[in-house]
Symmetry: C2
Subunit: 156 residues, 2 copies
């Protein structure tokens, strides 16, 4: 490689760590009956939450337009992970709620993430893993959503 400073490895390793976790998660989710689940879905379902939300709010949470949020909801609805219901108080709004399949996906994801974390603890040791998480917490912002990964990384 031409230009390979020490600082160049750090972002790569962080991303690869993220990616390997997400890939392992979805391989396991596919085995557990969610073959069509995509990386974005879990995050969106998490952002929707058990309380439900609306397209506008979801867009705000994820940092995308309400139209983009609406399209994502369409996809999740088609996959059976969410459903839309009219709000009696405000007939403009449509509440987006998790279906049992959506809750199942979130529940399994949670357990699988715990398992993957345990595997990391076996490799690098539980203490080092706790330190790694603590260190990352100190150098990253608190705001957890607003990933807006698709688009953000784009080359345009």
């Amino acid at each position: 490689m031409s230009i390979d400073p020490p600082g160049f490895e750090l972002p790569l390793r962080l991303f690869l760590g993220f990616r390997v976790l997400i890939d392992d998660l979805h391989a396991e989710l596919a085995r557990q009956g969610h073959p069509h689940s995509r990386p974005m879905h879990g995050f969106v379902l998490q952002a929707i939450g058990v309380e439900g939300t609306t397209a506008v709010d979801l867009g705000r949470t994820l940092g995308v337009s309400k139209q983009a949020a609406g399209k994502t909801i369409d996809t999740l609805e088609r996959l059976g992970y969410v459903e839309r219901a009219r709000d009696a108080r405000d007939t403009r709004r449509k509440i987006v709620r998790l279906t049992p399949a959506g809750v199942d996906l979130l529940t399994r994801s949670a357990r699988i993430f715990d398992d993957l974390r345990a595997r990391w603890a076996e490799v690098i040791g539980p203490e080092r893993l706790r330190e790694l998480e603590a260190d990352l917490r100190r150098v990253t912002p608190a705001d957890v959503f607003r990933l807006d990964v698709p688009g953000w990384f784009g080359a345009s």
Copy 2:
């Protein structure tokens, strides 16, 4: 948040760490005369390397089709970071090479990444940072390119 296991934080922190580094890099690059540089560009320029490459090879390196690589090269060419030259040995091939602007972008990125890493070292301590990198190396694959981030995270 509804479902918030310990294992759920780890991938988020990894991604946020990656993202905060990349965002800071591009904020600084914009200040240093590269306002149109996007996250993907640095990785692609790195993959092209000072030796140059072809669309087919670049596609192989990045894990995308040769057509997609060609489109990315079009963009970088339009921005003035690479240029295409005919290969005298094989007139089918077009060698993609970094322009001085492309080399400048890579050089500055390298220095800025080093600076950002130094800032992390100030926050969490140099020893902890080395441990963090060593630990990540043990849980991530060696293959550094093939990010194929756009698309991989998609919600389709």
